[in-house]
């Protein structure tokens, strides 16, 4: 095998992994993780189950890849959060119901007993609350204009983002997710320039 062959093979393998992860995102959005089968994912990318197992030996390994993929969509790694970028993130989320549906279905399942995504979500929320707290403190010091400390504002911001996603997925016409999130930012005391 030449160097070029080896590199081409690697690129094809990475492409194929990406395809599989995207198919798994779809299947989980449709059926949840517990309802998703490796067979359904394999069928969607035109692989045999054996072929799929070559890339992801277990359903849990595929879940890990899905969650890693999800994290990449959120933010540029190693960039500190900025409060004013959160409204833009919510705006962006409102353009991709598929990924929001996958995430919301997984979050819901994660609270059931022994769910393989439970550790991921628990750690993720700890980290997100800490990072938001730091971003709020950098912007406002020890108290936001609305009166809350950064520690108390952070879980509210996370809760509103998650909670709005359920209302919006169930009834997109009834809930303007970005406008509602900007409403919260204004209550907290952020100077939100976008109209809404």
């Amino acid at each position: 095998m030449t160097y070029r062959d080896a590199m081409n093979g690697r690129v094809r393998r990475e492409d194929r992994r990406g395809e599989i992860v995207r198919a798994a995102l779809e299947v989980i959005a449709e059926r949840g993780y517990r309802g998703a089968s490796m067979a359904a994912v394999a069928e969607r990318v035109g692989l045999t189950q054996q072929g799929l197992l070559h890339h992801f030996p277990t359903k849990e390994a595929l879940l890990v890849a899905v969650l890693e993929e999800r994290d990449q969509w959120d933010a540029v790694p190693d960039t500190p959060w900025r409060v004013d970028l959160l409204a833009a993130l919510v705006e962006y989320n409102a353009t991709r119901p598929g990924i929001v549906q996958t995430f919301s279905a997984l979050l819901g399942e994660s609270v059931t007993e022994g769910h393989p995504a439970r550790g991921y979500f628990t750690e993720r929320y700890t980290r997100v609350r800490q990072t938001m707290t730091a971003a709020l403190r950098a912007a406002y010091g020890d108290r936001l204009p609305g009166g809350l400390t950064p520690e108390r504002a952070a879980p509210l911001m996370v809760a509103v983002m998650d909670g709005l996603q359920y209302q919006w997925l169930l009834d997109p016409e009834a809930v303007d997710m970005p406008a509602a999130f900007r409403d919260l930012l204004r209550l907290l005391g952020e100077d939100v320039t976008a109209t809404g």
Copy 2:
């Protein structure tokens, strides 16, 4: 059969139905609705599957009973909502992680394709937002002290209640759900007397 026999039979049937619904609440909290089996529910109440089917002919019929049970825990029927009672409801929820877990798992699943609880949650949120809007208008008129209209405050209140439940179920030590909800009420402009 005497009248007394007939009444006793009816009471026993109602008791048994209540037992089955409570068992189903537990099984759904543990495994989600898609992961729950009629066999697991039957086993938990010491019935054969045939015996369970006598009370609930399908898994969906049992789900309907679970959702009706859940609604009863929320509020006294036909009583208008009062804003100041919502903080008490969140406080009460923090004492019953089991029912909160069942509800949160079902809400998460409801956004997946063709889920039998989707209609229930969609209608429930429409109704809850309307009822909260009316309660806020009755208390504050067309604008809350924090600046929002009742229509814009209502989805935020619902989102915070739901979103906090996930953070709290995943990490009860890290999130003080009633205190965080009171923080939101204060931002909205409610005079919240409880300390927190």
